[in-house]
Symmetry: C2
Subunit: 502 residues, 2 copies
């Protein structure tokens, strides 16, 4: 096999050359019933060639069933290809891919929806079946067989540690300037766990590579494939208004002396609202910002470039295709500012609580008492999963959930009497923001919350109906959290039957 | 005023003598609209004389309305007396008292139910109205005006720091041997927060007193009053079986190599089941146990005495009246083994995650997918509040919820299709234990959980009905978490209408 000249700077020990195999040969290592742990977090830094070869193998009639663990969502080369090939028995801890989502909601794939920081613990504790083979994208293989990650770390260090065999996809497409941006550490299990000495978002505590060793590496597959990054949805009017309302809230906090104009480190979920919020900050008076998050999108990369933000700690970048191309050219610019960490560290409650992260995530629906549904449509069908939102929302200093007040052309109110599934309880939700305004729920009793949420956040088309439910509930039930249980979920039932909550 | 001779060892600066006032005089300091922060956690270590005097003052026609913050629940001298006097406008973050519970459920008192570790942050961040007067029980006042706590620390250090004035109840009844058992520290707010250097349950990181200073002390009231501790409910058959099932689970974890026979530090909620579990451990093969918890009951004190446990870190003790009497005599025995901490430290996610706490708490009801309701009867009426259960359940290494499978003589199934309120989501609940058995939900998808919970935990009288709901739901809805929303809460409605879920 003739090797690309770029290989030599990425393979730093002769031993490694003997391990080079084709994707097809590597895919042959996977046996029925195995647990696979793949690198990647969002469509970034995940293996591409071997999963595609495994799907092809199944199409040739040589099918296996495997459990598939990842950091979070990954690209279509894994979730689409392996789902279509019928290979996945169980999937965890997160997804965004529509093919596997449909398979889950049809009952063809079992899915376990986990807090992302918990997923690492489940692996390290041996509380879920162990990873047999880790398939990990790498930028380079060091002299002692350690692996330098690419654009995501996720759960890879723990997968590698636990796996019997590691398949490396050495991706020549990823820019060498990524080297040195990673900070890898695996926490010991209790009772031997030590403090995580991060007191500022950009403190380094680990190594710039993931430990592995040649004895574990069963195959090295050379690839030259792009991450399947996705274009960002355009920022619509609602997203802009939500961003403005969040900034208004921050300004109030500064005026009250609870925040300064450098804020506290920001975590921001993925999507167009999240992106709009950060673009809003880019144009604001706030300065010297920090980010301590799980995913960095275009807006945060721009903030780093122009100096609006000083640093961003993350477990992955998830740029648009244009921004990824730009990043590949100028990655050098981000050195010392952009830090990739394993998701156990990026999402760790210890660090999130200590740094006082401001957490901003998206809700599918919110109820009048401040409970948030992030995952389930009508209580039953999986949307994406909870991801890291709970890690940040529970442990941060300020927890914000955003949603447009309406969905489906106004037939759905995102503010409902009772959410059909709870991912974030009334105890964890501090601020609700819609395009209508914001409700600061901190210290409020449920009844106080109801009035703020209905008046400040619900769409005017549904305000009266919500207030009617609330008022009648106050007359018929216990007055801590007034509900009429016969009616509490009737808005969802009405939507399912009649196509509208109106 | 003639002083009890015991006062001299408890007041260590002459200045303090000038501050001695009667409870009535101290109660006069409280003005309408104020926020009061009281010491205490469970009916332990809370002020008694001043609240009673305040209630008396209201009866004389000189009423005020105040917001009342505490560590957790407190004794009847506060929650009963002040509720009956109509003084409390808002209460947080926890309660167990039936008088105030009724007032809350009638809408006469606003109640904000908080994670106990969050309550400290809300105070320190200034995210809720500030404490005007702290009323704190103390064992002694040091030379520089610092306060040595008694049988609970709770939120007192933060109340004292924030208050304009502090009223001290110097309680001569509390044993001097308590001195030296406290480890007090107030966390800085971000961005100045440092790691909490606890790597073993008994590591000391703070001071044996709470900083205050004479300039803040507005009154010192000398008292000789007992904590209103409550007798423990007898351990019934269900509690014994639940305890046996938990120990069976632990034995399985040891066999699987995930725990050793010293376990990991234990957190155990309050009540007869919790007590039964610890008594079960007392008779087991497990040894050299540690406790990192928020409340220490009789069973843990006995474990410390006999050497079954090496240490217990807590924010309060909550012994039975007999055990409290014994404790007062022999408190010396517990030195170096029993450590009282502020609840921000006892319940801190950083420490709970690092030490890998095994968390055991009680559920009011559990649904077939593993969501837990700890607080609301039929979704509306407050029972006690979430307390610290969420701090431990979210961040511990193993999270166990216990409940008897039936309530109300069998008319209520504690396992229901959908809980009427969610305090602990499916993402946080690892093991459900009833007297019927246990369901280990780790790594399970919702459908896998449903089968385990119904088969292992539900009472046989309701198993068929639960399975019928589940099977029909599987035929009609999305298959991640199958539900029939029209019926999901119908068991509760049936109980409210017909007095039974059958």
């Amino acid at each position: 096999m003739e090797l690309d000249p770029r290989v030599s700077e990425r393979i730093r020990n002769q031993k490694a050359y003997d391990l080079i195999k084709s994707a097809e040969q590597a895919a042959e290592l996977i046996e029925d019933g195995m647990v696979l742990g793949v690198s990647g977090f969002t469509p970034s830094g995940y293996p591409k060639a071997v999963p595609l070869a495994l799907a092809e193998r199944a199409k040739r009639g040589d099918a296996v069933k495997v459990d598939l663990y990842s950091g979070a969502s990954v690209g279509p080369e894994i979730d689409t290809a392996l789902t279509e090939a019928g290979i996945i028995r169980k999937r965890l801890p997160y997804l965004t891919n529509s093919t596997i989502r449909k398979a889950i909601n049809k009952g063809k794939v079992e899915y376990t929806d986990m807090h992302l920081s918990h997923s690492t613990q489940y692996i390290n504790y041996g509380a879920i079946p162990k990873v047999d083979i880790a398939i990990v994208e790498a930028l380079a293989i060091t002299e002692d067989g350690s692996l330098i990650p690419t654009t995501a770390i996720g759960n890879s260090p723990s997968f590698i540690k636990q796996a019997d065999k590691v398949i490396v996809e050495l991706n020549l497409h990823q820019p060498m300037a990524l080297e040195g941006m990673h900070d890898c550490l695996i926490m010991e299990n209790p009772p031997n766990r030590k403090p995580i000495n991060i007191v500022k978002a950009d403190d380094l505590i680990g190594k710039p590579y993931m430990e592995c060793g040649f004895e574990k590496i069963a195959a090295i597959v050379i690839t030259d494939l792009q991450d399947g990054v996705r274009p960002l949805a355009a920022i619509d009017d609602n997203a802009k208004k939500i961003a403005q309302n969040i900034i208004k809230f921050f300004e109030g906090e500064v005026a009250a002396g609870r925040l300064t104009d450098t804020l506290l480190p920001i975590q921001s979920g993925v999507g167009s609202v999240a992106n709009a919020v950060l673009y809003g900050l880019l144009d604001s008076e706030f300065h010297d910002l920090c980010c301590y998050t799980e995913v960095v999108q275009d807006s945060m990369l721009e903030m780093l470039k122009c100096g609006k933000a000083k640093c961003a700690s993350t477990t992955a970048i998830s740029p648009s295709p244009e921004m990824k191309e730009q990043f590949d050219q100028e990655a050098e610019l981000y050195k010392g500012k952009l830090i990739f960490r394993p998701q156990e560290i990026s999402n760790n409650p210890e660090v999130i609580r200590r740094l006082g992260i401001i957490s901003m995530n998206t809700a599918l629906e919110v109820d009048i008492y401040g409970n948030v549904n992030s995952t389930h449509v009508n209580g039953s069908s999986m949307m994406n999963g909870i991801g890291g939102s709970g890690d940040f929302a529970r442990n941060g200093s300020i927890t914000i959930f955003t949603t447009a007040s309406l969905a489906k052309n106004g037939d759905i109110s995102s503010i409902v009497p009772m959410v059909s599934h709870v991912d974030h309880t009334e105890h964890d939700v501090m601020v609700i923001v819609t395009e209508q305004g914001y409700a600061d729920l901190r210290g409020c009793s449920p009844k106080e919350r109801a009035l703020k949420i209905i008046n400040n956040c619900a769409h005017p088309d549904y305000r009266e109906k919500l207030m009617d439910y609330y008022s009648r509930a106050c007359q018929t039930s216990g007055l801590q959290t007034p509900h009429i249980l016969e009616e509490a979920l009737s808005w969802h039932v009405s939507f399912m039957k009649n196509g509208t909550m109106k």
